[in-house]
């Protein structure tokens, strides 16, 4: 099992009362799953995603990621886990504006402490996997929205993470580019990657093989299904 979560809760003190952003969530995710995490705003979806992505720690419960208990790790240890296990894809791409596509993709490898030769090899391979090998030296502002998101996906892939965690990956794209990204996700899934896509868009969620719906900090729906035919 890749992800084992038991009784995950996240509570915030808001003035005099406590907000239960997450209120006792259990979730198991296997390797090579393609999971859509859905829910209306305020459902705890974003908090849950941050905890899955080791950006945030739960106030209660236990989270074992790839055999390691990450429930209450220090900031730097969590940074190391994120570097090794998680590939993030953001709605707004979050590329470094002054760095080339190649340098953006290379970034996680720098923090992994790899030597220049290995970094070059792996970053080039990741760019090729998203079909942007001929755009390696372009800056983000020289790329289209779809291309930028593909650079971001290459960055997510480059350190061979256990999970690719995408937050509204098509939210800032036109429908054609969005469709290309979803097709790319299909390919990544077919190659054995584990994908978790956070979205409120049913069309995006329809690509996933499993749907998890949150409401008021709890899992309301967790069902497996066949993907829509491409």
């Amino acid at each position: 099992m890749l992800i084992e979560m038991r009784g995950i809760a996240k509570r915030y003190q808001m003035g005099s009362h406590v907000v239960n952003a997450l209120d006792g969530v259990d979730l198991d995710v296997d390797r090579n799953e393609y999971l859509a995490l859905m829910g209306p705003s305020g459902s705890g979806k974003t908090t849950f995603m941050n905890i899955i992505g080791c950006l945030d720690s739960p106030t209660e419960g236990r989270y074992v990621l790839n055999g390691e208990d990450v429930t209450s790790m220090s900031d730097d240890t969590l940074a190391h886990i994120r570097n090794k296990e998680i590939g993030f894809v953001f709605q707004t791409f979050n590329l470094l504006p002054r760095a080339s596509a190649f340098q953006n993709v290379e970034l996680p490898l720098i923090y992994a402490g790899l030597d220049a030769g290995t970094r070059r090899e792996r970053a080039a391979a990741a760019l090729e996997a998203v079909g942007l090998q001929d755009r390696a030296h372009h800056k983000p502002n020289e790329l289209s929205g779809g291309q930028r998101q593909r650079v971001a996906i290459a960055r997510a892939l480059v350190n061979r993470p256990s999970i690719i965690l995408a937050d509204e990956p098509t939210g800032n794209l036109d429908s054609k580019s969005g469709a290309e990204i979803m097709k790319l996700f299909e390919e990544l899934h077919a190659r054995g990657n584990t994908l978790i896509v956070v979205t409120h868009d049913d069309a995006v969620a329809a690509h996933a093989r499993r749907e998890v719906r949150l409401r008021d900090g709890r899992i309301e729906v967790d069902r497996r299904r066949d993907p829509i035919p491409a």
Partner: protein
Amino acid sequence: MRPTLRVVLEGVRIAYHALSANKLRTFLTLLGNIVGIMSVIAVVSLLGGIDLYMRTEVASEGSNLFTIRRVDFFQAIEDFEKFVDKVLHNPQLTRADAVALRESLQHARYVSARAAQDAVKVSALSKSVEVEVAGCDAYYPFVNEIPLAEGRHVTEVDDRENAQVALVGWDVYQALLAPRDASGAVIRIGNRHFRVVGVAAQRGKVLGQSRDRFVIVPLGAFRKLFGPNESVQIQIVADDIRNLDAAMEEATVAMRIRHGLGPRAENDFAVSSSEQLINLWKSVSRGVMTALVALVSVSMLVGGIVLMNTMVVSVTERTREVGLRKAVGAPQGAIMWQFLVESATLSVFGGVAGMAIGFSIAAIVSALSVLPYVVNAAVVGVALAVTIALGLVFGTYPALRAARLDPVEALRSE
């Protein structure tokens, strides 16, 4: 994560982009650094130049030479009132003093009396030059090194007979007499004629000033030219460099006795060696340096605070970038070093600019005066070290702020 070469280069690159992206802001940020380093470099270069000037000019007199003067001109720096008092009241030094010292001092090898007038018009035929005219007794060649190009020095016989003879410096010969034969030629000083008996070999320039623009005549003839009231100065060469202090002490005692001074009276003459002049200069330059360090510290402190402010703005502007870097696995140390390297780089840019301006100022001042300027490698090194340290110290707070950002919050920021 230690600052690897890559982190450093990345920081330099980011700092360079920040520099070029907003030139005015960068300039204002670095103004403190620029002004501070500029002042240090300019002042230190010029002090170094004056130092060099002192050493070559003053120390060229020879290290076992000392001089007795009527007044100590450097006293004007320390106590001007006293200086004026001495100028008014100290007795004249005379040739008789020199003769007496020559006879009585144990540690003196040579004693020479000398008087001089600057900017005296010396002419021959239709040409004239303004040069220094010195009246010397026969011992001057032993005290000052003046090699001859032709002819002879002014001698004891000339001196005794108040002969109207002259030794001319190379430039004077060139200006008035060349290409004619010097010996036997006649030059005019004031309303008197002097027969040239010798030409000094060319001594060249020291720090832009010719050392060949002089005429030496016997002291008696000098007296007739300029009147009997001019005080002489007495130059004494100690028999050994190790006896310099003893010789100076001996000369002081002898002069006090000659002037009939009581045990508590102050010296009414001044004894100084070139070493003392250099020491006095050193204490003056130390004073200047101390004042400089104080002024520059203030300037650098202000510069550091402005730099810190700019770095805080820079961190705020790049909160999302920090969030992203953390998301893909940057530990706190890496973020910290990134910003520290950036602020140190910015600071060094300011320092380098300050150095460039400082050296330019020194070069311009040097070009407009006789003073050379000296590029002091140690000062360049210290200036670089100080700017790096400044960048690191004042960059620490912004860098810590960046390192401690919560990745979730940072990624959410606009």
